[in-house]
């Protein structure tokens, strides 16, 4: 169970959002929507502990977890090193890169330098990183940008597997996501 109570964040001198509350049960998913600049990415970064919250609390299994949440974070940047192969890109983050690459349909390209990948393939490589670490919370910023239909379906299978194992997902998106039964949270501009 991941709970947020009255979260507020300030970037620069601007109040990005205030009074955000939600609760996601184990196996659940929360989809953040809202116009550009509404604070979807900021909310994800606050949950990940990368940005500071001005007010409010984040509870993980009833414990205070603001800035200390064990989460896998997928930003809108892919964090892919062009000079390394796909497997080398994943290696520091988990023991079994081959299985993670297979899950996103990049298994055959494991030894290819990442600089040869297309934008969609880089996104899939970033998604593969999620499968490597046993983090119960996935924080996803526009996970399916640039993905083809087959890759979106593979992402849906990954997400379903994660949720079936008791994990939960918070995702920000403008595109429809394959997350059945997800609750929606609309952020205002």
């Amino acid at each position: 169970m991941l709970e947020a109570q009255d979260l507020a964040a300030i970037r620069g001198d601007r109040l990005v959002f205030v009074g955000i509350r939600f609760a996601v049960p184990a196996g659940g998913a929360l989809v953040l929507s809202g116009p550009n600049g509404a604070g979807k990415s900021t909310l994800l970064r606050v949950l990940a502990g990368l940005c500071r919250a001005e007010a409010g609390r984040v509870l993980w299994r009833g414990q205070d977890a603001l800035g200390a949440l064990e989460a896998a974070y997928l930003g809108h940047l892919d964090a892919v090193k062009p000079g390394l192969t796909l497997a080398e890109n994943l290696r520091p983050w988990g023991a079994r890169p081959a299985a993670a690459l297979a899950a996103v349909g990049l298994g055959a390209l494991a030894d290819l330098p990442a600089r040869l990948l297309s934008a969609g393939q880089r996104r899939r490589l970033a998604l593969a990183r999620l499968a490597l670490r046993p983090a119960a919370v996935w924080l996803l910023d526009e996970p399916t940008v640039g993905l083809d239909d087959a890759s979106v379906a593979r992402f849906g299978a990954m997400a379903a597997g994660h949720r079936a194992g008791g994990g939960l997902i918070v995702a920000a998106t403008h595109l429809p996501l394959p997350l059945p039964g997800a609750t929606a949270l609309a952020l205002g501009a």
């Binding site: 970064r45 990940a48 502990g49 990368l50 940005c51 500071r52 989460a71 896998a72 974070y73 930003g75 809108h76 940047l77 892919d78 964090a79 892919v80 090193k81 000079g83 390394l84 080398e88 290696r91 520091p92 983050w93 990183r129």
Partner: protein, 221 residues
């Protein structure tokens, strides 16, 4: 610890793939040092007298060259977020970067420093003390340099700002390092100077990663 080593391994592998960066620093060091005999004349007495200073100044400048990429590339491609979320404290991430910078830039400079000193007619008696001083000196530069690199992260023209921040902090290292080599050349004991360098390293080793870690945290915000 295994995460620390895995990330360090990744840094070294990246450095190996982009070997030109290391080579550029080493060549800069050799070329800059080679300019001095051309500028002030090849007279061995003069040259040998100032050789330790030349080696130190050129090595420091060369090691500063790759500093702005220490965090810059990771900041731009989103890797820094992942590094800070990998389970290690931010200070450990900064320490890992400092170790990687030393292995990639400091060690090659150490290797090439001896031939450069000989080229500058440095008295042989001072050579061991010069190298013994350069070991903690390059480590100190890597530690202070990562602090500077983390502080200027996200700043406009950070690459220009970086030497302005780091070089003043390196002055004590320069003074004691050159003094050690000079003392040995003059048949005096370089020990007190080297101990001063070791003391500075002992202070910087825990403090610099903490400062750099805090700067990294505020940079990603």
């Amino acid at each position: 610890m295994s995460v620390f080593l895995a990330l360090l391994g990744r840094e070294l592998r990246l450095a190996l793939r982009h070997g030109g960066d290391t080579l550029a620093a080493v060549l800069f060091f050799v070329l800059a040092a080679a300019l001095f005999p051309l500028a002030i004349g090849p007279e061995p007495g003069t040259l040998g007298r100032i050789a330790p200073g030349i080696v130190y100044v050129c090595a420091l400048l060369a090691a500063i060259l790759p500093l702005d990429r220490v965090f810059g590339a990771d900041f731009e491609d989103g890797s820094l977020d992942q590094l800070l979320l990998c389970g290690l404290p931010a200070a450990a991430v900064a320490l890992m970067k400092a170790v990687a910078h030393w292995l990639v830039s400091g060690v090659p400079l150490l290797v090439i420093a001896a031939p450069v000193a000989v080229m500058l007619r440095m008295p042989e008696a001072g050579l061991p003390a010069l190298l013994a001083g350069l070991v903690p000196a390059t480590m100190l530069l890597s530690l202070l340099g990562t602090v500077g690199a983390a502080v200027v992260l996200g700043a406009r023209r950070g690459g220009v700002l970086l030497p302005l921040l780091v070089l003043p902090l390196m002055t004590p290292v320069l003074i004691f390092g050159v003094a050690a080599a000079d003392a040995a050349s003059a048949d005096l004991s370089p020990r007190p100077h080297l101990l001063f360098l070791a003391a500075m390293l002992a202070a910087a080793l825990p403090l610099c990663p903490i400062a750099a870690g805090a700067a990294l945290r505020s940079a990603v915000e």
